[in-house]
Symmetry: C2
Subunit: 334 residues, 2 copies
């Protein structure tokens, strides 16, 4: 009889354990261990708790829990230059043997000689030439492979790590915490959408279809009897500044209730989020830690944070002070 009873009890205990584990996973005691116990963390948790509390006036149905994250400087490092720019420079060097004329033609000459002043002097036209030479003339699948191969070997100059490991652990925890509370997390970045999609799922748990970014045009064509898309040397969409709310509306079709950025390029995304009905959260990451990462804001060429910082201070948006709010910066920091 005792044996028969055990047959019934054990599966029940096991299932109870499973159910408890599920409940505990949702109500974990410290979902943001890399965040110090400061106002920033407390504000985030208070926001998530109020929008997920059924019956509360601030409750937000799960399908409206949209959170958008800038990428450069918000989720991964953007100094000493945008990672995509490092990719462009490396690609020009790699492709140079096939283009002997680049030795004498700007902006390629400047890249090959390491003369960034000469490159900068070619302005927007020069940048478009570099983009065209490195980002077009192949299918999206071919481009994804080029990006993945580059990431496998390229290293960040300061941290000596692959770029896709130079991601901020506190933000990775924040993404997980939001998803565990029913949020759908999106990247909304000025960077190229097809430059990000090959690696964001592994790095952040964000699948390709939840990445919004800048893009070049593509063209459908038949190549050797097979349907392909071909990447063209022409800008399609710039997902920066005013482009961010435009891109969110176009791709997601819902206004976020939480938006995360770090520069003036994110200002309009945060403004549009702030203007929505119901509760909303706006957060800027302020790079204040020259030792563990970088310290920059109003004067920076990459990730300039000036007007958005003033607006954050005026309107009470959360401003994360990396130095004091984060006890760990990178995922590879132990």
């Amino acid at each position: 009889m005792a044996t028969r009873k055990n047959i019934f009890i054990y599966p029940y205990i096991y299932l109870s354990f499973l159910v408890c584990s599920l409940i505990c996973a949702c109500a974990q005691t410290n979902p943001l261990p890399s965040w110090n116990e400061t106002a920033a963390k407390k504000s985030i948790i208070a926001f998530v708790e109020k929008v997920t509390k059924e019956g509360s006036p601030d409750f937000v149905p799960i399908e409206r829990r949209i959170a958008t994250f800038d990428n450069d400087g918000t989720l991964w490092v953007e100094q000493p230059m945008y990672v995509q720019l490092a990719f462009i420079l490396d690609r020009v060097r790699e492709l140079a043997p096939k283009h002997p004329d680049w030795k004498t033609t700007q902006p390629f000459k400047g890249v090959l000689e390491g003369d960034m002043k000469a490159v900068a002097a070619t302005g927007e036209k020069g940048l478009m030439q570099l983009m065209a030479a490195t980002h077009s003339g192949m299918t999206p699948e071919q481009f994804q492979k080029i990006v993945a191969d580059w990431l496998a070997t390229a290293r960040h100059s300061k941290f000596k790590r692959p770029y896709n490991e130079c991601i901020y652990q506190p933000m990775v925890e924040l993404l997980s915490y939001l998803r565990a509370n029913g949020f759908k997390t999106y990247i909304v970045s000025g960077g190229g959408v097809e430059f990000m999609r090959p690696w964001t799922e592994k790095a952040y748990g964000i699948p390709p279809e939840q990445v919004v970014g800048s893009s070049i045009k593509t063209k459908f064509e038949m190549l050797d009897g097979k349907a392909v898309l071909m990447r063209l040397p022409e800008i399609n969409f710039i997902d920066d500044k005013e482009g961010k709310p435009v891109g969110i509306n176009q791709f997601i079709g819902r206004r976020p209730i939480a938006a995360f950025g770090n520069s003036d390029g994110d200002q309009q995304m945060l403004e549009w989020t702030a203007a929505g009905d119901g509760p909303h959260l706006m957060l800027l990451v302020h790079h204040t830690d020259a030792d563990r990462e970088y310290a920059y804001d109003r004067q920076s060429s990459f990730g300039k944070l000036d007007k958005a910082l003033d607006e954050a201070n005026t309107n009470g948006w959360i401003v994360v002070d990396m130095k004091s709010d984060w006890n760990r910066i990178f995922t590879f920091d132990k």
Copy 2:
């Protein structure tokens, strides 16, 4: 002792029942009851079974199970005219009192007098004027409300039902069946994305962020101190023909493994799907039932099916014969 045993047994039985229900829900005996037992249905089920069978050479990981559906003529009725065109005509009539000049200016005059020949004579320029007058000059939220209000009162001329009830029950079942098997289902339509998003979740279980469509440009601006997007009288993207694979790549970033359409506007989407690695399924709905719905193909002004039908026959794509393959057409049919 008997009582104590029962305490343990009952929850276990209850939980076992729950687990069985879940398993049964996935392996239900007839997931497509509105489909007759013909080759079309058998091909769909064989495809889904092979791509979801772990260990099989045709197994497709869940994140790659992307299915894209055209809307007009594939999920809902597109005769006697595209629903969005009916919306435009109704809106012109409703807005006319505020625009006395429309009485004497084409294409508005033609709309107000029911002279569709005069409207058609204004060509693409006229259509753009109608689009601009009815689709721009408001925020996306305001436009969504206009669409929702219109759908609440407008009725289909033949079926006397709201347009968002004139949806094909076999396709609604197919969407559910695919989702139950781990597919992510998307609409990829030539129709306006913001014309569809207000109602697709309720009709098809497809949320706004999984609707890809044609769009007009929007502009970020501050209105009375609040951040808004304003809809502009300018085309942004035409999600038809070659535009469909382009749109899928841009919005979803993955090639579908199953694509569903009904007209030449879907041909390139199906071709691009067919050219992907691994197993894939292409299906065209052929409107062959003049009694229960409509019969049209090569000569139709709306949803013309000509080249794509030839290609389907040549390449063995599934062609659904509505008359013989579907035992029920609309969700409201009993």
